[in-house]
Subunit: 624 residues, 2 copies
């Protein structure tokens, strides 16, 4: 990996930072955040501006360029990668280390008095703007919005913003029509005395209209905004996508509809002026609802007194609670996904053990190939983490030719992968050994398994927040002095983003919403030994009501049902470290894998994979 | 309980709210918070202003009086009590219920335009002032400080502020001299580039100077402030307490000392003017450190740009980590406390079973009597919760003649009690049955015990915050659909307040500091069945390093050692619900009680109680 040479680019950028063509007054610093205008986790190539200017293409990082300096803030996952990808025009700011200054402190230390710091107001979330602006102002500087993105002005070969065809989802997939969803949203708006709701997150637009796209890799979303009034619906979207008869039919664009369900289609780029017009026409006490993570530009369009900001929007919360059609779809998707993985693992055992020719990349490609054979397969849901031996300890590893390792009978193999099917999104991790694992490897694996079971089998009262379950996943590791440095679970979308709010299971998240029946999260404890191996066991699980002997204060209880049905490698389990209850859990789980996935393998005529499944789901026996 | 008649008092208060003698401009509303000028949990009679004006004397509540209304906000623990104690001049505002307005919203709804809302700036913490002031200002009203407390102006028979003699603690109790503590504090101040530190919490003043008092019941503190500079020490305290030769000797008031350790004694009432003088004389970049819970009056004395506010002060954090002398003192105190409880329980078994003449109050008094026989006993550490049958379900119950119940062989008895000894503070809850408990009572008790053990035996990495352990205490209850609606543990002072920050174990507390070896907390899960019974099992436990098989990232692990050594009634345990590990925990715990407390009972010649202890610590045997 050789660094990107950025001398000329930085020279050009510094020129436009002073050019009256682009800035009202020269800016002494320019901030280039990671995100796009929708605060997406995964972004389109045209939005990879920070990677363009610096060379560093990790998923998190903020660049700040001044007349003299160019600095990059990123976290521990990316220290090495950023150092390799950036040339010596750049200073790496290692976040999380004690002596690393914050962006604000650094700016204050390097800027001449009374400086202007520019940023694209569409890229920076309103809450970040507020914090940064306050810090700069108190030091005598100003944060200023620069309307035209300055990176775009020098990015001559910038790829076009994707504008791919849409997929319409009918009721059999979504359970609720977009009209039902609009009605429900309006009732939430009425409760809060809000007259407009602005949809800025791409997955929220997609969910609301029962549409999917492919503008962003791995996330079936499309570039759009929506503004919902009590009697109006405006969809801001570009391209000829609205010419597609299926889409017109789905949105009933050509039907005679009650006016409150008539969708006005407007250009993507007109959102700001439309919001400004709405902002200017508000009556006293009328409120406009936005996420507090919406961009500064859109938030500012509504005068402060009229804004109603919340960390989670009503769409985010409604989307998290899956209805019967969605959970049934998720079940189907996970069955297909399990079929693909049974095929893969059976193939790996045949290939790795005798031949030793399978690399991490080949294994990842093979997994994709098996998945793509399944009905309604659309694409992967994230970049496959296919890692063997020491690469398994790199939590966000993705194999590339420079790091690609060959699977062998001497190393642990960790595969974290998932797919988008038209009926659901999957995300599963299995850790396997193709030879004979050491006692220590088995011990660690078994602690991780105990943590996985502790969460999966937990019973807890309605209203419990996911972060209260996080320690259950760690307890067995803690008992032996071990731990893992990531959260235990994240929300999963239904044929949508593989990471979604507002629920999760993590020691870090205290802003999570309570778990409710119908929510879907991952359960993925792990253990990582730097330079040696990584272990993770991940199922996607559905929150379901639990039957309990008593029912305190009539609150009701919840538990989880695994949607992922892929055998957990028994060779890796030290059965004597399991309690009888845990042992029963494994056997019941494997029994269910055998029944459900076995039937589907049979139906698909995949007999060799079926034999593999039967072998891998024999009951464990615990020696008393 | 008949309500207090407040018509005349309210008339008088409304008069002074308009009197130019007390207010610059009339105030249309006056807020009467619960606390004192030090934000103490327990307050002196002279500070019970809210109880005086309303009749309601629960531990939490805020009164607001306007020209037309008088309203009281309190939480679920006190709805019944407040309703009984207040006459119909008052409206009860039930906090936590959906339709109850916040104080701010209510004020905005009832006040005429452009109103002034008064409050004593010494009683309201700065953070509360800020929130309330902002809300009122945005609705066109003003929160104004009223220098003279308006309740005090009409409270003709207000008791005097207590000013009782001080106790000096020598090194054998404190481990560190007050000079050492000042040196350590100054080094923390230097780290943060702070030139003054203002000590406002009473237990922090007491801890810093190794002094104790008895101005507030149950809390061995005294009314004082302190201001520590880099070269000066000022102690603000009233009365002739500083004339006591022992105190003068302890503080070296008459010795020739290096100037930086010379304590300047000043009147309690001069704190504000002294702080204002300090505030006026600060150089640029000099900072003054205060708790963010310090009063508005003191916080305002320091200009905003010079304030350094933190939720926990360095004294609060240092005080929480007990040194060897303190932990040894706590151990001694808990041994004496256990002796007293063995005597009590032995006496109860003899009295309750055949005679049935013991009431909750008699039992509480007897417990105090046995404790007072122990060396260095000072007073109780809180009002004894002595509750039988349905009274046990009232979590903050205190027996009074109207509710006093007789202990019997048919009901569960819950005793939550503790004492202040010169060497330590205790807090212990035991739940017992003097007849034959039902299978259901045993089942519930055993779940609570499992939760108690899960916390007590937990092993967790250094740096873990207590709230991450809270679910361990609930897991066994949750499995059966049960729960309890309070936190699991609180910090405990060393011959200081029985509740202290900054650590604890609760699903609610996310601002807690990480647990460290030397911290002391309670472990007290429970289960309460309204109208029937209450169960709680509480030990005070010390955080100690844990030996583990591995040591991930060299972080080290922690666990707890019980300081409380009082048998857990075996009759209440359904042993078949325990795992072998839990059964071993109980047996090991009882073995330690027998050894340690047995030896002390022997030494004190308390042979009957010793026989009781031996009987109550026989090993449990689990049927496989």
């Amino acid at each position: 990996m050789s660094p990107k040479i950025t001398t000329e680019l930085l020279r050009q950028l510094r020129q436009v930072m002073k050019s009256p063509k682009y800035v009202q007054e020269p800016v002494q610093a320019y901030i280039v955040p990671s995100g796009d205008a929708h605060q997406s986790e995964y972004i389109a190539p045209c939005d990879c501006r920070r990677a363009f200017i610096s060379g560093f293409d990790g998923s998190a990082g903020t660049a700040i360029i001044t007349e003299q300096h160019a600095a990059m803030w990123t976290d521990g996952r990316y220290f090495l990668q950023a150092a390799h990808q950036m040339d010596n025009n750049w200073t790496l700011m290692k976040m999380g280390l004690k002596n690393t200054p914050t962006q604000e402190d650094w700016l204050v230390s390097v800027l001449p008095e009374g400086s202007k710091v520019g940023v694209d107001p569409f890229i920076i979330p309103a809450d970040q703007w507020k914090r940064m602006s306050k810090a700069l102002r108190s030091a005598g500087h100003d944060l200023v919005p620069v309307k035209e993105n300055l990176i775009d002005t020098i990015w001559t070969d910038c790829p076009q913003r994707p504008c791919k065809p849409l997929i319409t989802l009918d009721l059999s997939y979504t359970g609720d029509s977009w009209r039902d969803k609009i009605v429900a949203l309006r009732s939430k708006m009425a409760e809060r005395k809000v007259v407009w709701f602005v949809v800025t997150a791409l997955d929220e637009v997609a969910w609301l209209f029962n549409l999917r796209g492919s503008d962003v890799e791995y996330n079936p979303v499309f570039f759009a905004y929506a503004v919902i009034g009590l009697n109006t619906i405006r969809l801001f979207i570009d391209g000829d996508r609205m010419m597609d008869p299926a889409v017109r039919e789905h949105l009933q664009l050509d039907s005679t509809l009650e006016p409150e369900f008539k969708i006005q289609v407007m250009p993507y780029g007109s959102i700001l002026s439309e919001l400004q017009a709405i902002g200017a026409g508000l009556l006293p006490k009328e409120k406009v609802w936005l996420s507090d993570k919406a961009s500064y530009a859109l938030t500012e369009a509504i005068p402060k007194a009229y804004r109603y900001l919340t960390p989670y929007t009503p769409i985010c919360i409604a989307k998290a609670v899956k209805n019967t059609s969605e959970t049934e779809g998720m079940r189907r998707a996970h069955i297909k996904d399990a079929v693909a993985l049974c095929e893969l693992f059976n193939w790996l055992e045949k290939e790795v053990v005798p031949k030793g020719t399978v690399t991490e990349i080949i294994a990842a490609d093979k997994a994709e190939e098996f998945r793509s054979q399944q009905k309604d397969f659309v694409e992967l849901s994230f970049a496959t983490i296919s890692s063997t031996g020491p690469n398994g300890a790199i939590i966000h590893y993705k194999p590339v030719p420079e790091t690609n390792r060959t699977l062998s009978v001497n190393e642990i193999y960790l595969l974290d992968s998932g797919a988008q099917y038209k009926d659901g999104t999957t995300d599963v991790t299995r850790t396997m050994h193709f030879g004979t694992p050491s006692a220590y490897e088995k011990e660690c694996f078994t602690y991780v398994l105990k943590g996985h079971i502790a969460v999966s089998a937990a019973i807890f009262p309605n209203g419990t927040k996911g972060h209260l379950l996080d320690s259950f996943a760690r307890s067995a590791l803690w008992d032996s002095g071990l731990d893992y440095l990531h959260g235990t679970g994240h929300g999963v979308g239904s044929f949508l983003n593989v990471h979604e709010g507002p629920c999760g299971i993590s020691y870090k998240t205290f802003a999570d919403e309570p778990l409710e029946a119908g929510m879907i999260v991952s359960d993925e404890p792990g253990y990582y030994e730097d330079g040696s191996f990584g272990i993770r066991i991940e199922n996607v699980v559905l929150v379901i009501p639990a039957e309990t002997k008593y029912n305190f204060k009539n609150r009701g209880s919840l538990t989880f049902e695994p949607l992922t049905l892929v055998p957990i490698q028994m060779k890796m389990i030290d059965v004597n470290l399991l309690t009888q209850k845990e042992c029963n859990w494994v056997n019941d789980y494997h029994q269910k894998c055998r029944e459900v996935i076995g039937a589907e393998l049979e139906r698909q005529g995949r007999h060799e994979a079926l034999r593999w499944l039967i072998r891998e789901t024999e009951p464990l026996i615990r020696v008393q």
